[in-house]
Symmetry: C2
Subunit: 268 residues, 2 copies
């Protein structure tokens, strides 16, 4: 008996296409309204570096710029190690589709070999009810990728509207899947848009750029048992057609997995 | 009578060198222990895009990766508009020095034309004493660039040590200088390192990557009267040889200028 791969693994799967190039394909499961769910795009770039023979260590940080639309179909990922030091490695990343003069996606990433040092967690997992005690949120939105995430809010109806965009929720894959770097990266873009929270309803939005700082190494991440991550997200400002989102993601065991911020184009 | 340019303007001044290239030079005023103050590097990249004839609108976001050391002397900045849409423009950036096979600095930036929309500031300037009522902090560190910043803490001796790395301070140029995008970008890297705050003393550190989201347009920034910005900075986690710093910067008038996060290599 052969188990089918998880739809997320299918969505981010890549074929080596020579040197720094990898061939990928958009996923119908992780499709958003008019383009792929940005989280899978971010995870796909990360997956390309993880699969690159010259890769050093674990992801430390990445920035992904959504410069143009990705259409349904095939695409080429290029990840290039620009500079490799003793313990850090700097990457350039892009995604192109056939026939396009310009990349749809650009970005950079830093990988590093971590080492034993003094450690301290200042931002701790809030004392909240675990995912088992909460109900899955039934989103009124109909876009496919939302069916691929089990989101459980601890404190609110995210579309109640109000003066504060902060939300707190558990996020897990559907079907449940062990946490790894690509899934954590995708979770960073899985929060309900802050504008929807403020306005109490969906509006046209589009992420322009997204950055992630990782706070866990591969060995620790591998040991995490829980398949949910806890996310706390907020906006600092909505101004002149753009707003930001800042978020923190913890494992169920309380490890800070990642912090992330993004800038989003919006229309009222 | 001709006034000398501000040392900051000298530090980030560039000569067009054809197409996407600009020639710059490190500044002795903004020198750090073994390399230029990272804030001037970030500001120099921004300055190159602001000076580029194809530039569209105002800075929205940027990520700068410190891939290798910059030596004292000349350097070449390359800023390339990768993709230009109706209202956003995506840039690639790098800095190289003669004789080096690899860039010292890589990065990306997004510029945009902002437009009138519903706006709201969720992260407000805390109700703190203005810079006039506070004393300039006399840093025990001897590196040149610290002389170029007037930093006034509202709540602490930043080197008192303790369990929480959060600091709140006013930051201004020396001599006083009107706020603009390059100075705000440089301020984003002018916070005392979070590790120093926790340990109560300097330790070896080096910023690996820094991202900025801007929340103000050029027209509004031009109208700001105060020459100080208020900064609140904290770390989320110190782990495996790296820690992060997140900060917010407001004008004296209460405009949120920028939010920023960076990842820093450290030794105990």
């Amino acid at each position: 008996m052969t188990a089918l791969p998880h739809p997320f693994d299918q969505a981010i799967s890549l074929e080596p296409a020579g040197g720094d190039l990898f061939a990928g394909h958009t996923s119908e499961h992780y499709w958003n309204a008019i383009s792929p769910f940005g989280g899978t795009t971010v995870a796909t770039l990360l997956q390309a570096i993880l699969a690159h023979p010259q890769r050093l260590g674990d992801p430390l940080a990445m920035t992904v710029n959504f410069a143009g639309p990705i259409r349904q179909g095939g695409f080429t990922v290029r990840v290039h190690p620009v500079r490799t030091g003793r313990s850090t490695q700097h990457w350039q990343m892009e995604i192109r589709q056939e026939g396009d003069a310009e990349p749809a996606i650009t970005g950079t990433a830093v990988f590093a070999i971590r080492r034993e040092t003094w450690s301290d967690l200042e931002s701790k997992l809030p004392p909240v009810t675990g995912p088992e005690g909460l109900e899955r949120y039934a989103s009124p939105a109909r876009v496919p990728f939302l069916q691929m995430y089990d989101i459980r809010y601890v404190d609110c109806n995210p579309l109640a509207g109000g003066e504060n965009s902060t939300t707190q929720c558990w996020i897990g894959d559907v079907p449940p899947r062990k946490l790894d770097f690509p899934s954590v990266a995708a979770f960073c873009d899985a929060f309900i848009p802050r504008l929807f929270v403020r306005k109490g309803a969906p509006r046209p939005i589009s992420t322009v750029t997204l950055s992630i700082n990782f706070h866990v190494d591969g060995e620790t991440l591998e040991k995490e048992q829980g398949k949910f991550a806890f996310g706390k997200a907020k906006a600092n400002a909505f101004y002149g057609g753009y707003y930001d989102q800042e978020a923190q993601l913890w494992s169920q065991e309380g490890t800070l997995l990642a912090t992330t911020h993004q800038l989003v184009w919006f229309r009222e």
